[in-house]
């Protein structure tokens, strides 16, 4: 698993992807922080809320090539015919993308630190908010990984995951209006609404379990999809 992780992690930094995405993310979060300062508020949940919307674009770009490109360039053969198991391959790749995301997130820790120096922000809200934000990102990454396993084309993978994430984002508005069983089912996919507690500084078990299982399920589905495709290909 570590060999895949290492290779994948490195490849983010040999191509421009990681730098461009980090740059974009830091730029947006800086603008948000500037608004923070100008409006003289120490309410960081505002930042995290918008940063999580930006993830809808950033995460799919991080994950689009993760599996699609291996398939297109034929390097998939090398991975699958090696003694390393498919689970290790997929999980290794997922962890590599997760690490890039964590680095990206860690850069933004500077803003709450500045806030803490300048004023007295509610640290519990910030820490809770970040935990929620990271869990949300981890779920997005799993969904992006899944989208990348569906196709050979990076572009299609990116589009599928952006569209999927946008739909999940819109769900929180749509679901209650529909009511009944539909609302319940749609609510399973409502990733965003579950961050509210975190941003309020509340750490409850249910949303943590929800995000972790969402990620695990999509990583698992991804493994199954690749497995399934092996049976049907020539």
């Amino acid at each position: 698993m570590f060999s895949i992780f290492k290779k994948e992690f490195k490849s983010y930094f040999t191509s421009a992807t990681a730098y461009v995405m980090m740059g974009m993310f830091v730029l947006v979060s800086s603008i948000l922080f500037y608004i923070n300062l100008v409006s003289q508020t120490a309410d960081f949940s505002f930042n995290l809320n918008y940063m999580s919307i930006i993830l809808i674009i950033i995460i799919p770009i991080l994950t689009m090539k993760i599996l699609a490109d291996e398939r297109k360039s034929g390097t998939e053969v090398m991975l699958i015919t090696s003694p390393t198991s498919l689970t290790n391959i997929v999980v290794g790749k997922y962890l590599a993308a997760l690490s890039v995301f964590l680095i990206m997130t860690a850069i933004t820790f500077i803003y709450p630190i500045i806030l803490a120096v300048l004023g007295e922000p509610a640290m519990s809200e910030i820490i809770g908010g970040y935990i929620g934000f990271i869990l949300l990102g981890a779920s997005f990454l799993a969904f992006g990984l899944f989208a990348s396993s569906l196709t050979e084309s990076q572009i299609i993978a990116a589009i599928v995951s952006v569209v999927g994430l946008v739909l999940m984002w819109l769900l929180q508005g749509i679901a209650p209006a529909l009511g009944g069983v539909t609302a319940k089912v749609l609510n399973w996919f409502s990733l965003f609404s579950r961050t509210e507690d975190f941003y309020a500084g509340i750490l409850s078990l249910a949303p943590i379990v929800y995000y972790l299982s969402f990620s695990a399920i999509f990583v698992f589905i991804t493994i199954r999809i690749i497995e399934k495709r092996r049976w049907s290909k020539g």
């Binding site: 570590f2 060999s3 895949i4 290492k6 290779k7 490849s11 040999t14 191509s15 360039s73 034929g74 390097t75 998939e76 053969v77 090398m78 991975l79 699958i80 015919t81 090696s82 003694p83 390393t84 198991s85 092996r230 049976w231 049907s232 290909k233 020539g234």
Partner: protein, 315 residues
């Protein structure tokens, strides 16, 4: 070493590989020959565990690919038709990754990488990005990857395709050298390649095995006539008359007029009778010197065409 039994791969109604069985002994170099689309790559993909078979078993050193894939995969180095290369890596980065992937221990990695790069002559380009290498070098990098982890079995799918003649000769030499320490299955649709490198040939056509033998036996075993080419100086009509008089000769025809009154004849005779001596004495007696005499054995090319077209007729 490798046992393949009743291997079948179907896609809906179509059978890409149809009930193939053969074994490869330890240390053997086996040629896997067939026209494009005969099922060579599919078979190799199944042996290496890239795709599962519909029916049948593949065993490498007693381990079944479906039951203990990791054990089998550890013993196989695979060079697919399209070398699996990461274009953005340098040669040594790539080989280092291949070593990690195949669980080569840290201690052995460095020396193994150096040995392999020396063997396939990559040492000079180790620091270059793979995307900037020529096709011949890329193929060697692919081969180096297959050799990583010192697998007992090498499976090479059309290793010389798309290379220039000089590179082809180099790769063939390399494969021959590797054959001393590894069991090799080599696929190709080019016949001289297989006869140059392999000890035994499996000819496959439309997913079925059409023949299994050594290249020599295959050339000997086919047909009921043997062919000679003889270049003789003298008047055509009387020479043909003399030749036809020799016991065992079935057919003679002038093939090519090489000079004035020097003609190359193609002579066919019964397989059991060697007509070269009687031919010499007959011509000597008649006073027509034989300038050149050689036997035209069936080439693998002929056999291949015969076998694959016969199959067509059966179907």
């Amino acid at each position: 070493m490798i046992e393949i039994q009743n291997l079948t791969k179907s896609y809906g109604q179509i059978k890409a590989v149809d009930d193939i069985s053969f074994t490869v002994e330890k240390g053997e170099v086996l040629g896997f020959l067939g026209p494009n689309g005969a099922g060579k790559s599919t078979t190799m993909n199944i042996i290496t565990g890239f795709i599962p078979s519909t029916e049948g078993t593949v065993k490498v050193n007693g381990f079944d690919i479906m039951e203990s894939p990791a054990e089998v995969k550890r013993r196989i180095g695979y060079l697919p038709e399209l070398p699996p290369l990461y274009m953005d890596m340098t040669v040594s980065e790539y080989l280092s990754f291949a070593a990690d992937l195949k669980n080569v221990s840290k201690r052995q990695k460095k020396s193994q990488m150096a040995d392999i790069m020396e063997l396939v002559k990559l040492t000079d380009v180790r620091g270059r990005l793979i995307k900037n290498l020529s096709k011949g070098y890329k193929q060697r990098v692919g081969l180096a990857q297959a050799l990583m982890g010192s697998p007992e079995v090498l499976i090479l799918d059309e290793p010389t395709v798309g290379l220039d003649p000089k590179q082809i000769i180099e790769i063939r030499k390399l494969i021959k050298a590797l054959g001393k320490q590894h069991t090799i299955i080599l696929s190709s649709h080019i016949l001289p390649e297989v006869s140059a490198v392999c000890e035994r040939v499996v000819i496959i056509n439309k997913g079925k095995i059409a023949a299994v033998d050594t290249p020599e036996n295959l050339s000997k075993g086919m047909g009921t006539v043997s062919k000679l080419s003889a270049t003789i100086a003298g008047p055509k009509s009387s020479i043909i008359g003399f030749i036809q008089g020799i016991y065992g000769i079935k057919y003679v025809e002038p093939h090519l007029e090489k000079d004035k009154d020097v003609v190359e004849y193609i002579i066919e005779s019964d397989k059991e009778i060697d007509v070269r001596r009687p031919l010499f004495f007959a011509m000597a007696k008649a006073g027509y010197p034989i300038i050149e005499l050689k036997s035209l054995d069936l080439t693998l090319e002929d056999i291949f065409l015969q076998i694959t077209t016969q199959e067509k007729e059966v179907i």
